[in-house]
Amino acid sequence: MGFNVSKENESDEKTVAELYEEADHWHVNTGDEIIHAKRMGGKFRDLKWKAMSVWLIFFLGPYLRWDGNQAVLFDIPNRKFQIFDITILPQDVWLLALILLFFAIMLAAVTSVAGRVFCGYFCFQTIWTDIFTKIEEMLEGPPTQRRKLDNAPWDARKIRLKVIKHSSWLAIGFITGFSFTAWFTDSYQLWIDVLTLQASTFIYVMLAVFTAGTYILAGFMREQTCFWLCPYARIQGVMYDTQTVLPTYDIARGEPRGKLTKGNVVEGNGDCISCNQCVAVCPTGIDIRGGQQEGCITCGLCIDACDSVMDKIGKPRGLIRYASMNEMKHLEVKPFHKRPRVMVYAGIIVFAIIGLLYGLTNLGTYDLKVIHERQPLFVQMSSGDIQNKYELKILNKTDKVMNISISVSGAENITTKGIREKMTLQPSKLTSFTVFLLIPKKNLKKSRTPIYFTIESYQEFGDSIEYQSMFYGPKYLD
């Protein structure tokens, strides 16, 4: 909570008593007080609404259709992800690793550049809390009336308001859980199943957990989640550096702060008129004038509040503004390309994007694995041929039945057993064949001969793939 960035030698001289005295002013809300933040319009409030609308995808996405099926479906029971035309089977799950890498580094990069932007504008905790308090305000009025109502005795009006509020919170919780679940199963069918009580216990448990979770987290825990539950809030804090742009109170301009006297700033005072609006609007209930702190989700609402006050008293805007520590101290503000951390993050993001693009454009129509039998490695047949046994595992990655042919090359006079001219692969299924290869001993020059299995499709859309395996013969061939 250190603010005023005290010089080191000063703090050395502090007595123990002084240090304790400082700690006495240290106030952290551990949930004993409910934050009723004031709502105020402004640039960042508008931005927040726009950023929040990204979450509409979460609610509406499951209802998109594509080719008669759900456009995006994470079909866990059938182990496949359907994203528009692309089917991703577990074999391609490395793509998921790249997606996770992308988002993880994206978070790091954004944090390094502009702090907890995610927390302030995109995080579900922030957004849902914002919507919940919006409902609260619509029903119960501004913060003062809300506090009054909380302390008022229970009467018909209070009961009515509270019932409406809590049931709308629960309804939002339910819709949240439903929308989440709908990404994993057919959304329209899910409505039918849930409403006719036909859905599985698992789905009802999911809905219950999400409804209760949303209700508790956004309705009651609110900023306490950011303070004490969220790991990202803590991790992001240590990703800041002196170049990171954050909502910052301009101490040099604002201090010493003091109330207006007869509508004017007292001579010698700074621009801060102790109107406390920045604290009143803060959804986590902190005082940004205390400096950067763990409770700050960098949402910029205090900037809106302060700017509107500055406008009223005829002072320039920006007493609280998005600025880096270096900017405030009038030190060098480096451009992105001179900040190694940002560049490294950007590099990793580019790598992840390239990998994803490559992966998505090169998914292929099937996957072939050839497993050579180990016991025995080879068998001598009566005819003098050497026989090897292989297990071919062919995955059809498309959602259509495929007819394929398998050919083998790598040595002369190969006889195959177990390969039919046309073999059928079921959609999105792994099919395995046992294949025997026989090669006359005289055609083998070594005890190990590379052998190539090639798959070709009878359909136009299927591509051809090759897999190298080994043909084993007796050691004395070497």
């Binding site: 039998e373 180990r374 016991q375 025995p376 068998v379 001598q380 047949m381 009566s382 005819s383 003098g384 026989q387 046994k389 046992t434 025997f436």
Partner: protein, 282 residues
Amino acid sequence: MSDEENKFPGENNTGHFWDDDLRELDNEPPAWWTIGFHASWIFVIIYTLLYPSWPMIDTHFKGLLGWTSIDEYHKDMKSIESVRAPYENKLKDLSAAEILADDDLSRYVTASGKVLFGDNCAACHGAGGQGNVGFPVLADDDWLYGGTITDIEASITAGRQGIMPGNAAMLDDAKIDSLAASILDGKVIENPAYTEAGCIGCHGADGKGLSFMGSANLTDGIFRFAASDQLSSIKHTIKFGVNDASNPKSRNAVMPSFGGTKLSDTDIKKLAVYVHKLGGGQ
């Protein structure tokens, strides 16, 4: 600790002081802790009521749910069997050949046959049917008693025990050496001693053996008693025979019977299909 008077009266301290003002307070534990504590003992009581728990003199409290681990095991086994039942019911009425002809069934049988093979056959014939010293390879197409599915089924059911008499008394060393050398070359029928010594009676005019008596094919370079020194191994077999009771140095080659009480008919069918598919079924 000091025995001084309580310097902080009205405070919930225990009266224990150190260094003037360092003192022990008697605070309530946090609410979450208290809730957790009470939830724990309530859980324990409910749990021990529902599940087998308290020991008694010669038994134990069985629990209100009547749960036992062996019941759970039986329940799990039943659910597995219900998956297997449609296949197993079909297998009962089909012959091994019919099972082999059905893609779906033979795939099922290959999976369960692997376990049976591991339990009953692998000790001698190797995990993949690759054979062992003194035990034949099952993955090749050289069968002493025939390699059709029916032959294999018969071999498993009744077992096999071929006999070859020792020839040490009848043949001199030179003849044995020459026979052994020509067997190794795969050209034994061109050796006059083959007919003279009467080998032809069992191994046939073409030297390829007769499957009804289990005599070996002497021309294919696959040896029932494979050894690193194949020539002396062949000589040994010619001299002392196989399963020749009168000859203590005779080879011992017995395939036990798995029919009757050892394995069920269905299991034998499964094994026959499994062995047939190892690589050399005919």
